[in-house]
């Protein structure tokens, strides 16, 4: 098997008493579009900055293409970074910004001009080549920042919250843009985000972080469908959690219903995504049904979210597409709610 493009081994960072990143392992294969996803303060940016060379690790090792780069400064790492806020040079125009790294690398000016022109085309800002940075919109600056890093042909492109500064519409179009760039160039991208939608939309691998730890690494499908714990389940998408116990291959929910599930005896959490729940489930084998009270209904355009209170005391949320014209429930009404077996994901707590 090929060695991975990037490998972090027991990499950690502490600032005095404060631990930003606990010793962790991370592997990025060549060609990956990998997301580090986590809430703010989880250490994801520190991790990315360690990989870029801007933060010296407290311990551990970092390898790029099998070479130990742990102590290599950013100016000599085969990675390039797109910074949050971009860090473009306002005293240079677009062309000079993009060509700056090549000029430092003493690339001949004919070759440099060719590669800069190629980048201008790739990120579709050719007509802006001679503008100064302050004359550009946020989305245009984002493109310049991307071009400035990509023109260096980095072995791995690092992106720190690349789309956070853009408004919703622009973010969606830049997401498509990033996917296209990744496909066209065939490079390896590693980006940090707190937005699970962005991570799902862009990445083919996601590492979910919390409190300086990587909670789970895997494909978007794996982390979404088989979350390693309740944090991952609720951070990626929305999910209901039901407490229960498994005894002799059968789980009994605290809320009442029971179903067969193989595993060792002990307490479990059963996770069911909002979109996999339904109102008025068919009362038949293969379906779990509970009694709940409606507390609120929120219409969100593409779907309607029902907020319920289970008879066992826990909150339950149900997401149904559009508006169900047959369902005319008002807050306070009693309703049966449930899911078809197979849609749940069981976490062993012990």
């Amino acid at each position: 098997m090929n060695e991975p493009l990037l490998e972090a081994r027991q990499l950690s960072k502490s600032y005095g008493e404060v631990v930003a990143v606990r010793p962790l392992d991370l592997v990025v294969e060549s060609g990956d579009f990998c997301a580090i996803l986590g809430p703010s303060g989880c250490g994801k940016t520190t991790l990315l900055r360690m990989i870029g060379g801007f933060v010296p690790p407290s311990s551990g090792q970092l390898l790029i293409n099998g070479h130990d780069v742990t102590r290599v400064p950013p100016e000599r790492r085969p990675s390039n970074m797109v910074f949050q806020g971009y860090g473009l040079f306002p005293h240079m125009n677009v062309r000079e910004n993009i060509g700056y790294g090549l000029r430092l690398a003493r690339v001949k000016s004919s070759e440099r001009n060719r590669r800069v022109a190629e980048m201008l085309d790739l990120v579709e800002i050719g007509p802006l080549a001679d503008r100064m940075i302050n004359a550009l919109s946020g989305g245009q600056q984002q493109r310049v920042a991307l071009a400035r890093a990509l023109v260096m042909r980095p072995q791995i492109l690092l992106l720190d919250e690349p789309l956070a500064a853009l408004d919703l519409k622009l973010r969606a179009s830049m997401q498509e843009e990033l996917r296209r760039l990744h496909r066209d160039i065939g490079g390896t991208f590693l980006f940090v985000t707190h937005d699970q939608g962005e991570a799902m939309a862009l990445a083919n691998r996601i590492a979910v972080m919390r409190d300086g730890r990587i909670e789970q690494q895997g494909t978007p499908e794996e982390v979404y469908l088989r979350p390693a714990n309740a944090f991952v389940a609720t951070f990626l998408g929305e999910a209901n959690q039901f407490a229960g116990h498994r005894v002799a291959g059968r789980i009994t929910l605290d809320a009442g219903p029971a179903f067969a599930n193989v595993g060792k005896d002990g307490p479990v959490t059963v996770i069911v995504r909002h979109e996999n729940m339904c109102l008025h489930p068919a009362e038949e084998p293969g379906t779990i049904a509970l009694t709940a009270t409606v507390t609120d209904r929120v219409f969100l355009g593409t779907h309607t979210r029902w907020q319920l209170r289970g008879s066992h005391g826990g909150d339950i949320r149900v997401q149904v597409p559009g508006i169900d014209p047959k369902t005319t429930l008002t807050p306070g009404a009693e309703v049966r709610v449930g899911w078809r077996l197979g849609h749940e994901h069981v976490l062993d707590l012990a």
């Binding site: 060379g53 390039n80 430092l104 260096m152």
Partner: protein
Amino acid sequence: MKAERGNLLLVLPALATFAALFACPFLYFFAISFFSMKSYRMNFTPTLANYLHILENNAGTLAFTLALAAVIASLATVLGLIYAYAMRFRFQRQAEALLLIAVLTLFGGYLMKIYAWKTILGTQGVLNLGLVGLGLTDQPLAVLLYSPAAVAITLVNFLLPMAILPIYSSLRGIPDIEIEAARDLGASPLQQLRDVILPRAAPGLISAFALCFLISAGDYVTPALVGGTTTTMGSLIAPQFGSFFNWPLGAAMSFVMLTLGVAAIFSCTAAVRLAGQLLR
């Protein structure tokens, strides 16, 4: 309309002070620079005699004064840049303390610094005693004091905080990520300085240089006290308003200095801009 009148009211005190204390005397001295003195009385026949006199007799002193001021301003700007750079990029945590130290020296009066340097540089001064004590020279060096170098040292010491402040404020305007971006693209510390820090600090550097240049070009106290036979335009102008009682000539000298000084700063700024363009 109302707002505009309010705005006018806001600037009026400053404008009135400026007109009374600067613009009026300025115009007055400009006018009398074209007159002459005859037996301690002003002769109101317009003449260029004062300017011709300066051209014939003081061209050397003028050039020397501007050159000395340029050297002093350059030294103060470079030292100010080093200090401000250290504050901004090397000792961020101590920056406030370092800034306070720089500003505190401004409180230590101008004359006090001159006398301090007199005692340091004099034949009985600390420096000479040290040199003799170490056996580096047989007898105290008289040239340390009463030389253009002594003027330069004293003025650089006095001007340093005024160079540090504008440079530091422009360095503070450079976000860290711009420097990190330069590093990421392969810039060595020297290249970061050349390509990012200096171009971004240019406005601060230019104002530091201009301030130091104008102050040292116009100074006449320092040369008189530590300069020995060093003659600057300032030391020629001052007595025209005192012992020689020739205000028209003094005024003409002042306007020549002012014009050349401002011209020097403008050409300097232009040169910096041009150099910046060519370096790209």
